[in-house]
């Protein structure tokens, strides 16, 4: 069954508000390290995730809060992770860039650009070898397309007919380097021509378009072919908390904000589907409650003991890790 636009609106809003709260928590010093916000790009995660099944696998980047939430991960566990708590989805070991939930086949948050792509290919290979008709969806940015690993992985997936959905979130910038300054061919979906892989471009600011395009793509992938979907989108915030944003103009940002996937969808729903201000307020309230609970959970959660430092380096050791 197709997700209702209203449900998708709420999911996007949930991601937006969550990240706004993260930004506050960062300023207040509760969250540290890097924090890469997804604000502006929510339609991609929400639209794409609805086209996947629970048994499918997801591989993401350091900008993965949206993917994690859209995949159904617990907001409290994510917030606790960023607070560095033992109850975090990665037990506080990973932080913002390394969210994991094996139970949802959410295989992480990779902070080396393009580093997750070969892993996604391997997950798909396991599915193929085990005769499972799962899809592995791999999210990455426009910048990642310049990395050799992307090309090696794409060739391998095409050659071995692996069920990988390559989902490129083209937000026009790799950090501060604009697309036309890092890619000779800025129509990124044309990259697949070197591999005989089918591709499509979709408006990444339109959640229903993303959902529909991803569903078409996933249908192809599930039959045993990779597919490359390029979602054109934009991040409204800085690249990370350290970014002075010298490389783009306010006008450009404003022009894209006019395409805000949340704003446009809620406007449309009001106009066409009778969404009311009261409905919106209810959504906001529910979301704020969830966020408040997540923050409370994160705050109240214990820190792992430093006695546990060497846990999870290797499994409960068959071989004892030698520590001098």
């Amino acid at each position: 069954m197709d997700p209702s636009p209203q449900a998708m609106l709420k999911e996007m809003l949930r991601i937006r508000r969550f990240e706004e709260r993260c930004a506050e928590a960062y300023s207040a010093g509760f969250i540290r390290g890097f924090l890469h916000l997804y604000i502006g790009e929510e339609a991609v995660a929400v639209g794409a995730m609805h086209a996947l099944r629970p048994e499918d696998a997801v591989v993401s980047t350091y900008r993965e809060h949206g993917h994690a939430l859209a995949r159904g991960m617990d907001m409290g566990a994510i917030m606790a992770e960023m607070y560095g708590k033992a109850t975090g989805c990665s037990h506080g070991r990973g932080g913002s860039m390394h969210l994991f939930d094996a139970s949802r086949r959410f295989y992480g948050g990779y902070a080396i650009v393009a580093g997750g792509i070969p892993v996604a290919v391997g997950l798909a290979l396991a599915d193929q070898l085990l005769g499972r008709t799962n899809v592995t969806a791999c999210f990455f940015g426009d910048g990642a397309v310049a990395e050799g690993e992307f090309h090696e992985a794409m060739n391998l997936a095409a050659l071995w007919k692996l069920p990988v959905l390559f989902l490129c979130e083209n937000n026009l910038y790799a950090m501060g380097t604009g697309l036309e300054r890092h890619q000779a061919q800025t129509d990124l979906h044309h990259k697949t021509r070197g591999y005989g892989v089918a591709s499509e471009v979709v408006d990444g600011m339109n959640v229903e378009a993303v959902f529909a395009a991803t569903r078409r793509a996933v249908d192809v992938v599930r039959l045993g072919e990779p597919f490359f979907l390029e979602a054109r989108t934009y991040r409204f915030r800085a690249h990370s908390t350290a970014d002075p944003e010298l490389y783009r103009t306010k006008d450009e940002v404003e022009a894209w904000k006019a395409k805000d996937p949340i704003g446009t969808l809620s406007a449309w729903l009001k106009l066409e589907e009778g969404l009311t201000e009261a409905d919106l307020r209810r959504m906001e309230t529910e979301i704020q409650e969830e966020i408040a609970a997540a923050v409370a959970f994160a705050e109240a959660s214990p820190l792992e003991s430093t006695q546990e430092l060497l846990r999870h380096v290797v499994a409960a050791p068959q071989l004892q890790e030698a520590l001098p």
């Binding site: 990665s90 390394h98 892993v119 391997g122 992985a153 380096v313």
Partner: protein, 326 residues
């Protein structure tokens, strides 16, 4: 008990056994299939197990090592062959940042039961880009295991043992060992212990992998001169069995490490550092290192010989150790 075979055939037999026993095991790497493996290790396996389980890969080290990681997470049991350690630099990001970290970064939710095999070392006039001994770098990385089989039995057994580990195991096969003959004992091997390959009272020679034969030769020569050298084969570089090393040094009070890597930053440095840290009072003098000269490997045979540790170099170190005492 034990048949005579080569190091190469022992690995092949071990691969065959693994493929026969567990349908989830598969082998992938450059030229492991039709070519039969760059060192003929996997010859015949494609014919026996088919292209699904013996997979030739494109020249894409990063992608197929990464795919091995993903496949291991996904529930199968990949054995990845990286043709040689020289090419493994292209995949090192996947090793350091994914294979070794995923268990930790996920708070223990996922593990990477992956075996990666590769040939290592010099001595075949392959020159600067094809003669590296970088297994010491791998031994620096928490989260992975590093095995350096030096005998036919370990060549067979360490692969079997590696397939029981829930974490990535890297196996380094010194390319000069492939034709080496020896007795194969197929009983399970213990990955947690170094081995004393020769008993001796006067000094301890510590080594691993491709340097073991040279070290044993040196020990024989020393014996002729009345010096009784104990030879320790580390077998695993990570974790490192210091108990065996220190036990030997406690008896001999003198030690040298033979390691084909460039001296500065060699694994031999780690062993020396640990011996003096943990057994300073056992020592009669400094722990010495017999390593490669600090030069990209030259092609010409006499220059390559001069660059690599030779039996004579081991003898010289041993003499220095013994001299230090008298």
């Amino acid at each position: 008990m034990g048949t005579t075979t080569t190091y190469r055939e022992a690995i092949r037999a071990s691969l065959r056994l693994a493929l026969q026993r567990d349908p989830k095991v598969f082998l992938m790497g450059e030229d492991v299939g039709r070519y039969g493996g760059a060192f003929a290790v996997s010859k015949g396996l494609l014919e026996e197990f088919g292209p699904e389980r013996v997979r030739d890969t494109p020249l894409s080290e990063s992608a197929f090592v990464g795919a091995g990681i993903g496949a291991a997470i996904g529930g199968v049991r990949p054995i990845v062959e990286v043709m040689t350690i020289n090419f493994s630099l292209l995949a090192l990001d996947q090793v350091v940042n994914n294979a070794a970290t995923l268990r930790h970064m996920s708070g223990g939710q996922i593990g990477v039961p992956l075996v990666v095999r590769m040939a290592t070392g010099g001595g075949r006039q392959m020159a600067a880009q094809h003669s590296h001994s970088l297994e010491g770098w791998y031994a620096h990385i928490p989260g992975i295991r590093v095995a350096v089989p030096a005998t036919v039995t370990d060549a067979f057994g360490m692969l079997q043992a590696a397939l029981l580990e829930p974490d990535p195991v890297f196996i380094f096969e010194h390319a000069t060992l492939y034709p080496m003959e020896g007795t194969l004992d197929e009983s399970p091997v213990d990955l947690s212990r170094a081995a004393i390959r020769r008993d001796g009272r006067d000094l301890t020679l510590i080594t691993f992998g491709g340097s073991l034969p040279k070290t044993l030769q040196a020990a024989e020569r020393l014996a002729q001169e009345g010096v009784d050298a104990e030879v320790v084969d580390l077998r695993m570089l990570r974790p490192l069995d210091m108990d065996t090393v220190l036990g030997s040094v406690a008896r001999t009070h003198r030690a040298a490490i033979v390691d084909e890597a460039w001296r500065t930053g060699s694994f031999a440095a780690e062993v020396a550092a640990r011996i003096q840290e943990q057994g300073f009072d056992l020592l009669d003098g400094p722990v010495l290192r017999v390593c490669s000269k600090e030069v990209p490997m030259p092609y010409a045979i006499h220059m390559e010989r001069a660059a690599l540790p030779q039996v004579e170099d081991i003898l010289a170190a041993a003499q220095e150790l013994v001299g230090h005492h008298v």
